[in-house]
Structures are given as C-alpha cells and as structure tokens.
Amino acid sequence: MSTAEVVRAVGGALEGVAEGGAEDAYRRGQVLSALSVCRLLAAEEAGREELSAWLVEATAPVLAGRGQEALAVTRADAVGERLSTLMDELRAAGDEDARRALRELRRVLHELCDREIAALATAA
C-alpha cells in the first residue's frame, strides 16, 4: 500500500468513529479533524512527486541565471531555505537583472501555490 492509501484507510476508520457519535462536541471535533487531516495528507502525497518535479524544472532557469545549481532535493525545508535565501539576495541586489529574476521567481511561487491547492482539492 502507498502512504496515501494507508492514510485513507486510517481516515476511514476515524469517519466510522465520528459517525458512531463521540461523547461531546470537543471529542467529536477532534475525530473529524483527524479525518480531514487524513484526506488532505492523502491528496498531498498523491501529488507530491509531480509537484516536486515541476518545481525543480520551473526554478531551474532563475537559479541558473544566478549561477546556482538546480534544486537537487525536494524536501520542503531545504527548498524553503534555498528559495528564501535567493529572494533575500534578489531583493537586496536591486539591479535590473535581480528585479527580473525576482519577478520570475514570484511568478513560479504563485503557480506553485496554485498547484499545491489544486492537489489538495482532490481530497475525497
């Protein structure tokens, strides 16, 4: 079973518990939230590989233009560090090349946000 399938299975079990009625509103809310987490995580996992590949490709020209290698890893913390640092540098540089690169990077990040939401929207 894939991670997404396992998470969906756990979510299904939680849904059954919630439908059976929890003792109070707080506990029922906890179960329903856990169910929602499972659905969203499953959707995220299902889209992760495609989204990562797209991000590596979409950011490669900007990184190359600044003499940097393409994103080699797609762990969120490493990507966040690389792109945040690059944006710091571009904002500080202030020349036309930097401004152009910053505009392009913002366009890529906006599309990344849209793609991330589109992936989450597939949650059953």
């Binding site: 707080y26 029922r28 809310g29 913390d77 944006m87 904002r91 990077l105 913002r106 906006h110 946000c113």
Partner: protein, 343 residues
C-alpha cells in the same frame, strides 16, 4: 472515568464559586452540568448549566486560558474589554467574574452569560448558503456586522487605552514577524517576501481606536438574523481600525480553502457595499490599497498563529489534532498572499 468526574466536579465548584462571589447566583442555585465546547483555538470554553430551587435553569460560559495556550494574550484583558463593550451598548457577552488563582481548570478563567445564537462556520458549505441567503433577503447580518464594527471603532481610544496594548503598523508587522520566525519549522519564501512587501507600504497613520483583531461572522453569535454577541477578543489592541477591514476582506475569511468560498465579504455582505457603508457611517476614508496592505498583514497574522499551533503540537505542548490540520490551511493563506501581492 472517576478521575474525570472528580475533575468535572471541581471545575463546576470553581465556576460556581466565582459566580457566587460576583453575586450572580440566586439562593440555592446549583450546578447542573459542565460540558466542553468544540471551538476555541487559544482558549477552552465550557458551558456551566445551573438550576435554582424553583426549577429555573440557565447557562454560563467559562472561558479558560489553558497552560501553553496558542495565543499568549491576557485573559483579564478580554474580561475587561467585554465589560467596556457592555458600557458602550455593543453586543458582547455579559462577563461576571474573573479568576486568576490556581483552580481546577488549570489556568485563569472568567465566567459570562451564555449568549443565545449560532456561530457560523464559513468553511462549511451549508453555513455559507445560509449566510448568502440572509444577504439576498436584505442582509440583516451584514447590517449588524457593519454597524457593530463602526461602533467598536467609535469607542474613545482613551477608554480602551488602560486595558489594551497599543500597536501601530510597524509594531504590528514586527510583532507577527517575530512570532513567525520563532515558531516556524521551515522558512517560507512567500511569507518572508510578504513581510518585506509590507515594510514598503506603511500606511499614513490615523487616530488609533479599538481593533477587534479577529472580526468575522464566525466570531459572532446570531439568532433570527440578528447578531446577539461578538466574541473572541483575545487579539484586540489599540491601533489602526483599518486592520479589521483588511482582515474581514480576506477570501480565507469568506470560506476559501482548497475551493473558493463565498463571493461575499466574510461570506456575509457585498464587498463594495460593506466598505462604502463603513466609510459613510464611520466618517473614516477607506483607501482600498490600505485595505489590501492590512489584508496581507492579517493573512500573515493568521499564518503566524497557525504556525504557532503546529509548533506546539510538534513540541508536545498540545494534543489538539486541529493544530495538525492547520498545516493545510497554510497553503491556502500562502496562495492568497501571492494573489494579494499580485505576484
């Protein structure tokens, strides 16, 4: 189970003692049950039912700041704000007693009347449908939401100043940026860029007023198409009232998550109507660019608070699974930030 029953009994007794101390209880009035409410991200809330010897029953809400609360804001401030609002005729819960001493709730609490009504959840489709129907039918909730906001902002600043922290634009930006940086698990380029964007858009200063800080229909109780109480004042401060306009204009606050929410502002009112009427009734000019600036600040505030919740769960300071769920809400806020900054 026995331990839970003992704790519940001790909590009932603590709340009842607070009410008795405030002179609220009728002779012989006793506790008839205590249940925890579902909502509340930074506060816990319980309903205390009481019964008098003549058979009369009523309900109170016990609002608790639990240990390691999501927002480290002052509960006494909320209690005092509720009393100030009552003095100015604004629909707010009638607050009776504040208890700071060690007690069975595990943190300071205050007891207030349970106001009648329902708090809509704009992220729930059926609630949005109901709110939109209200707007189509004349917008009684929009009218109340607007009227209350105008009157909140009209409370003299010197009346709120002894209770609330003052925070101008720069201080607000710095405050939430510090929260974000101290709580984050990873760096987020969109969020960091948004703070840089804000620092280039400082609005012209205006006279400070009471800012709710979390002003939305979900923080109001309503009944029969009327708002009966405005709740959740833990983010209130003395500052630029246009913050509340930016906050309520977020699409996130109209129910947007992975799908679009309501086209209405806050899922309640026509956007143009609300902002134009606010300007006309308050006498305060509404600059849409300033509203956009405050919308970005509001989104960053939400982002910082949700990040704090995630941090608390990861560090083992909370077992509330909603803190885990908020990880996905960050994606929606990040998308709205990118749109607001016109990336």
């Amino acid at each position: 189970m026995a331990a839970e029953e003992t704790l519940a009994g001790e909590r009932e007794a603590a709340a009842l003692a607070a009410l008795a101390g405030a002179g609220v209880l009728a002779p012989g009035e006793e506790a008839a049950g205590l249940t925890q409410l579902e909502g509340g991200w930074s506060r816990q809330a319980f309903v205390l039912a009481t019964a008098a010897p003549d058979g009369a029953t009523r309900e109170f809400v016990v609002r608790v700041k639990p240990p390691g609360a999501l927002l480290d804001t002052d509960l006494r401030q909320e209690f005092e704000i509720c009393r100030l609002l009552a003095e100015h005729g604004i629909a707010a819960p009638v607050a009776h007693a504040y208890v700071a001493d060690a007690n069975a709730f595990g943190g300071p609490f205050f007891v207030m009347d349970r106001a009648p009504g329902w708090a809509p959840n704009v992220w729930r489709r059926r609630d949005r449908v109901e709110l939109e129907a209200n707007w189509e039918a004349g917008g009684s909730l929009a009218e109340d939401l607007l009227d209350s906001l105008v009157r909140i902002h009209a409370i003299p600043a010197d009346a709120a100043a002894p209770i609330l922290p003052a925070r101008d634009f720069e201080a607000a930006v710095s405050h939430w940026e510090e929260v974000q940086n101290s709580m984050r698990l990873i760096r987020d380029p969109v969020v960091e860029d948004a703070y840089a964007w804000l620092r280039e858009r400082t609005p012209d200063p205006v006279e400070p007023s009471l800012v709710h800080g979390d002003y939305r229909i979900g923080n109001c109780l309503s009944e029969d198409g009327k708002i009966t109480a405005i709740l959740d004042w833990e983010l209130s401060y003395l500052g630029d009232p246009r913050y509340d306009l930016g906050y309520i204009s977020l699409e996130y606050e109209a129910g947007r998550f992975t799908q679009p929410g309501s086209p209405l502002l806050g899922a309640v009112a026509g956007r143009d109507w609300f902002l134009a009427e606010y300007e006309a009734r308050s006498g305060r000019p509404v600059d849409l660019e300033v509203v956009r600036t405050y919308a970005v600040l509001a989104a960053l505030m939400l982002y910082a608070i949700l990040t704090t919740g995630i941090r608390m769960y990861v560090d083992g300071r909370s077992t509330d699974v909603r803190m885990v769920w908020t990880r996905f809400a960050l994606a929606s806020l990040r998308q709205e930030l990118a749109a607001l900054m016109r990336y």
